[in-house]
């Protein structure tokens, strides 16, 4: 009767670094989420201070992005990770970039804060745009929860489901075409920017889900699904 020898844990410092990296990525994701919340508040209140606060915060998010990217490059260079460790580091590089883009899209919406009072008068298109924003933020939070728990179920849900905001895109365009009056073009443009940015945020959340699913499973088909 033979038994397998008890494995001895090795490279514990490296494993700790990977875990710390996972938490730092989560932290960056939370910072982006805070900006998304500022964005939602600004869309309700038109408060320009919220915009200023979000812009400052985004500078810090960008700095975190650069710092974490550098750490990934150092790990690749120093530790030559393979298999799930390699998938983890390259996935972090990808997911950091997705978080950063979501942050930029939030700023794109926040830049319209001064026009919120006017845009809100357009009625149905404004309501649709706000719904799209809510759905996109919810989608992003699902992605963040999936990353935090490394949850394959949530990741697959994000990767496979059609982003819910997508269904509102055509309705938004139809409503915008109905706008009339001297300010309708400017108003349509502003509301469309909000809807489109929300749509993109949801897309980035889906990409995070697809990347996380590939990170967990390592299946080439899941990588292919991400690049489609």
């Amino acid at each position: 009767m033979t038994t397998e020898p008890t494995p001895i844990p090795l490279r514990t410092a490296f494993q700790a670094e990977l875990e710390q990296l996972r938490l730092q990525v989560e932290l960056m994701g939370v910072r982006v989420d805070q900006n998304l919340e500022l964005m939602r508040e600004a869309l309700q209140s038109g408060d320009e201070h919220l915009m200023d606060q979000a812009f400052k915060s985004d500078d810090e998010i960008d700095a975190m992005h650069v710092s974490l990217l550098e750490r990934c490059y150092q790990l690749l260079n120093r530790e030559a990770p393979v298999a799930s460790d390699l998938r983890f580091v390259v996935s972090v590089v990808r997911i950091l970039s997705e978080f950063e883009r979501v942050g930029d899209l939030a700023l794109r919406i926040l830049k319209l804060t001064r026009q919120v009072a006017d845009l809100a008068t357009c009625g149905a298109p404004w309501d649709i745009a706000l719904t799209m924003v809510d759905l996109a933020v919810e989608q992003y939070r699902t992605a963040l929860r999936a990353w935090s728990a490394q949850d394959l179920g949530l990741a697959s849900q994000l990767a496979d489901q059609r982003p819910p905001a997508e269904a509102y895109h055509e309705r938004l365009l139809a409503e915008l075409r109905r706008l009339r009056g001297p300010d309708s073009a400017a108003m349509a443009m502003g509301v469309y920017i909000i809807g489109q940015a929300a749509d993109r945020i949801a897309d980035h959340a889906a990409i995070i889900g697809a990347r996380l699913r590939y990170l967990i499973t390592g299946e080439p088909a899941h990588l292919a699904a991400e690049v489609r």
Binding site: P7, R11, G218, P220
Partner: protein, 295 residues
């Protein structure tokens, strides 16, 4: 994936339709399935006396591929390598059980000449071991043993072998000098030239770079890629990155302990395409080993 007849094809691994570019890549990856099998190894166990050093190894070595055997010390990878050209015959009490076919012929069958086996299946060892002879005589040693006597013919074999081993330019003016005066890397390439001078089909390499510096190692690795068009290579290495860099297929071996005798027996854990082993191995033990998480 443990102990299957061979690695799964990419087609078996994922049925989901892929984008066109990836479909092409997958077809290319599946091409190895059609390469002829050089060694068919089935349920192979190797013994030294009553001690079973390695058990139940099942894998195929395919033509013009580099197959890497990796795993911790004592896992039996060198034992398996030495079975492939019956080098273990030289150890009293050594024997094998199971299937070990070379082009469908049992390598340990009656009537098989071990000398002819070693001519067809050459070996390069861990430490460069040139004979204390001239560069020329080292390479000409095997061909002379197998009956080539004419000087012109020997000259041609020596030069061709040294070219293939990427050593000719460095030694062409030192053919009569002692091989012991060459650098470690040059000595190892000389040993490769000596191994291929008998026109083998397979070259077995037992940690061929472990005694070499990084530059000499890189040259040997480049050389392996060049000569695999002509030869089939099986390499034992402790260097994970080397296995990932040079090989097409990788077999991961691990050990089991007999608690009564405290003796370790090697066994094959996983055999697959190298890109799969180093990106998404099927067995957790492989993952733990290649990532260095557990030892």
């Amino acid at each position: 994936m443990t102990e299957s007849a061979g690695p799964p094809t990419m087609t078996e691994r994922a049925d989901t339709p892929l984008p066109q570019g990836l479909e092409v890549a997958r077809r290319e990856l599946a091409e190895h399935d059609h390469l002829p099998i050089v060694f068919e190894i089935g349920d192979l166990s190797a013994y030294y006396g009553d001690f079973r050093a390695v058990r139940e190894v099942t894998l195929d070595v395919r033509q013009h591929e580099i197959t890497a055997l990796i795993g911790p010390s004592g896992c039996g990878k060198t034992t398996v390598l030495r079975c492939l050209n019956r080098m273990n015959d030289l150890i009293p009490g050594a024997r094998t059980e199971g299937t070990l076919n070379y082009h469908g012929v049992p390598l340990y069958g009656s009537g098989i000449d071990p000398v002819e086996v070693r001519r067809r299946i050459g070996m390069v060892f861990q430490k460069p071991n040139p004979f204390p002879k001239s560069v020329y005589d080292n390479v000409a040693y095997g061909p002379r043993l197998f009956g080539i006597k004419k000087r012109a013919q020997l000259d041609e074999v020596v030069e061709t072998s040294l070219h293939k081993a990427a050593l000719w330019d460095e030694v062409k003016d030192r053919m009569k000098d002692s091989a012991m005066g060459l650098s470690g890397g040059q000595q190892q390439r000389l040993c490769i030239a000596r191994a291929i001078a008998t026109d083998p089909e397979v070259v077995l390499m037992d940690e061929p770079c472990s005694a070499l510096d990084p530059i000499a190692t890189a040259r040997i690795e480049d050389l392996m890629q060049e000569i695999k068009e002509e030869f089939t290579i099986v390499i034992v290495t402790h260097n994970m990155q080397q296995a990932a860099r040079v090989s097409d297929a990788t077999a991961f071996f691990s050990t089991e302990v007999n608690p009564e005798s405290d003796r370790r027996t090697g066994r094959l854990v996983e055999f697959d395409r190298t890109e799969t082993i180093f990106s998404n191995p099927s067995d957790e033990r492989t993952e733990n080993y290649i990532t260095g998480r557990f030892g």
